[in-house]
Amino acid sequence: MTKLVNSPKEHLLVLAEQAKERVKELKESPVPVIYVGCATCGRAAGALETIAAFAEVLKDQGIEARIEKVGCLGHCYAEPLVIIQNPGFPPLLYQKIGAGEAGILVRSFLKDGSDPCYEYLIGALEADENFPTLMDYPRYLYENRVVMEHCGLIDPDDIDHCLAVGGYLSLAQGLEKGGAWVLEEVKSANLRGRGGAGFPAGRKWEIARKVEKTPKMVICNGDEGDPGAYMDRTLLESNPHQVLEGLALAALAVGAERALLYIRAEYPLAVEIMERAIKQAQEKNLLGADILGSGFSLEVSVFQGSGAFVCGEETALIESLAGNRGMPQPRPPYPAVAGLNGLPTVINNVKTLSTVPSIIRNGHQWFRSIGTEDSPGTAIFSVVGEVEYPGLVEVPMGVTLEHLVVDVCGGIKDGKELKAVQIGGPSGGCLPASLMETVIDFDSLKSVGAMMGSGGLVVMNEDTCMVEVARYFTDFTQGESCGKCTFCRIGTRHLRDILHLITIGEGTVEELADLEEISEAVIKGSLCSLGKTAPNPVLTTLRFFRDEYVAHIEEKRCPARMCRPLIAFYIDLEPCARGCDACVACCPTDAIFTTSNRKKAIDQEKCVKCGECVYACPPEYDAVRRISPPEMIPDQGVEPLSEAEKEKEESK
């Protein structure tokens, strides 16, 4: 630094100016710039192949352009997503750009600029006369992006991208005004922990701040273990500096000198990106010793969790950091008073910390103007399952489930009926269509037996069996129970075993009462919220979908036709096309044979009920039927083709 600066803020503004200069070069680039979303989900959809294709065709056509990797926009249904900034046009967002589409875009749009390829276009990022803008879509219009504002638009590997859009400004402000002020702001904002339980972050910080023991520590909990939620991963991968800034502000507020990012090992890309981000921030003196000349120092490191759902629980997480099995400990003492090595330890979720910079930047009044009185701010949901536009959605707290699923995410796919939404993962519950008016906030969801949890939301249609869903989650929590509390360890096992019996058609009506009784016992007899909430999926499905349980038990019938021991597949000979072999080729067990009239039938002995033939059967015939119970297969007088006929066929 050649220029002498006095305050952290001035110091930061110099950094921000430099960053803006560098980013301006990119924004005003005389050659086209292609931004490709490269978070884990983008890569899964083939983003790296898209980049390779762009590079190849550009070279082939002799066009000069820059390719930049960015994070995730959260529009998973449209991956791989590409933004093209072609001089003379507004930045344009394209969807589902695979290798082939990449080539077409280069040839038609970049080569002579004549055709912006409307067929792949979603819209322009800026208002423009010639193009629809993103705000013309409900998905963009209804969202209120506070935490995810820059996700997918900046390069997570380049700190300048973040600095240019105001990154670390809140930290500089916090450093000037002091930790006590930061704490007051967050407390007044009533920021509630986004990890699931909704405990006010400011209160937690205050407790730790008041404890006199030092050194203190702040931990970012990125051990996102809920199967079905991935927003923490997206935030870590798409805007890592926002997480670091929030972490530094938390440390400042509690007076901690050490900070740790606890990230689960299943997220290798997030670990890699965060480690790089920490290094870059240290180089710019935004982390490390004497941050921005303020005298405040913070040492930050990454710890890789080894895959244990229970480590999302604060006390278990601390145990695992100490090199033990991740088993929860009784509270009090709370970690904020005596955590890792008996020292005050504050643990906050990735989303909570990512929200902090915006509160400091805009003030607590602004934050409280979003959402509801008791749950201010926004909520991020990963809406997946049978909706038209699955992905990450950030909406203000207080909107209804109906609004989220139907208006924002486009409603149910393929014109089917909504049956239930599972909200909150293994700790949450299944809510039926009749409860879609429920408001999304911490307390309303609890009142109907579900939970905000980590924000996983799976939308289910009539083809999903509620008993099977309850069995799945119970199986999950059973496997993840650490074994410390008897009720959780053994209770969840009994729950799972009973549910398993019901899904294979061997349950009894008396067992439904057992399920309820055991559930109550597990809730009462467990130390941590893994056990306390584990029966939620069972209790909510029993409450709202009891008739499905009864159908499994009394009629041996799975109404959703999902539980495989209770279903069968057969081919309706009427629509089945003579001579068509589509289903034969796809069957993994060669269970489909030709009948005497040269149509197809399924050998029930060989069939493993994978359902592949349903998809393979051409829609114009649509001849494969799924039925429950299996005895319901109608007798169509199927006879296999005689050996002699078969030989004749083959010799042809």
Binding site: T40, C41, R43, A44, A45, G46, C76, Y77, E79, E224, G225, D226, P227, G228, A229, Y230, R233, T234, A265, E266, Y267, F303, Q304, S306, G307, A308, F309, S320, L321, A322, G323, N324, R325, G326, S382, V384, G385, P390, G391, Q422, G425, G456, V458, M460, T464, V469, Y472, F473, F476, C482, C586, P588, T589, V608, C610, G611, E612, Y615, A616
Partner: protein
């Protein structure tokens, strides 16, 4: 230390330590001094060893226990508690079937069955020729692309039962091409 450990094994146990595993153990012996002896570093140490060698041989746990001066029971307890650790070598093409909520609802279990049938190994096993290993993962966070399978480092999206065949065939074709290329190179170098 390693020789002592080997000497303490009974005959069947010793027979199970093949040359390859012995070499891994030798490497672990050489690597250990670089690690901290703090008990709090136990998990990172195990992660490092697995990261390097792909798995944790049973005797490596004894070596680590000795290194951080704790009981083998403690190390074994840790290694088996966390899902990340594995005790048999992974295949050259590790296949992980995601069984998160979204993938489960869309038939992840059926994919697992198809892989089991196609590869003739069960979940958690490695094929005899070490070509494939099959595992389940709780959630890889690609829920909107369900059902998903991770093959090696690559995430395959929207996998259907018939795509299982395609995935395996692709690996087989790639192996065969590599083998031919190798043979060709050998020829020219001769």
């Amino acid at each position: 230390m390693l020789d002592q450990l080997l000497a303490a094994l009974n005959e069947t146990e010793r027979a199970a330590v093949d040359e390859e595993e012995y070499q891994v153990l030798r490497a672990v012996v050489d690597e250990l001094p670089a690690f901290s002896r703090e008990i709090s570093q136990l998990i990172p140490i195990l992660q490092e060893i697995q990261g390097k060698h792909g798995y944790l041989p049973r005797l490596a746990l004894d070596l680590v226990a000795d290194h951080v001066q704790t009981s083998i029971g403690k190390v074994y307890g840790i290694a088996t508690f966390y899902n990340q650790f594995r005790f048999n070598p992974p295949g050259r093409n590790p296949i992980k079937v995601c069984l998160g909520t979204a993938c489960h609802v869309k038939g992840g279990e059926i994919l697992m069955e198809n892989f089991e049938r196609r590869l003739q190994i069960k979940e958690g096993e490695t094929s005899d020729d070490r070509e494939y290993s099959l595992e389940r993962v709780a959630c890889i966070g690609c829920c909107a692309l369900a059902p998903a399978v991770v093959v090696g480092e690559k995430v395959e999206a929207y996998v259907t039962p018939s795509k299982v065949e395609g995935i395996i065939t692709e690996i087989e074709v790639r192996n065969e091409m590599a083998a031919r290329e190798q043979a060709k190179n050998d020829e020219t170098s001769e």
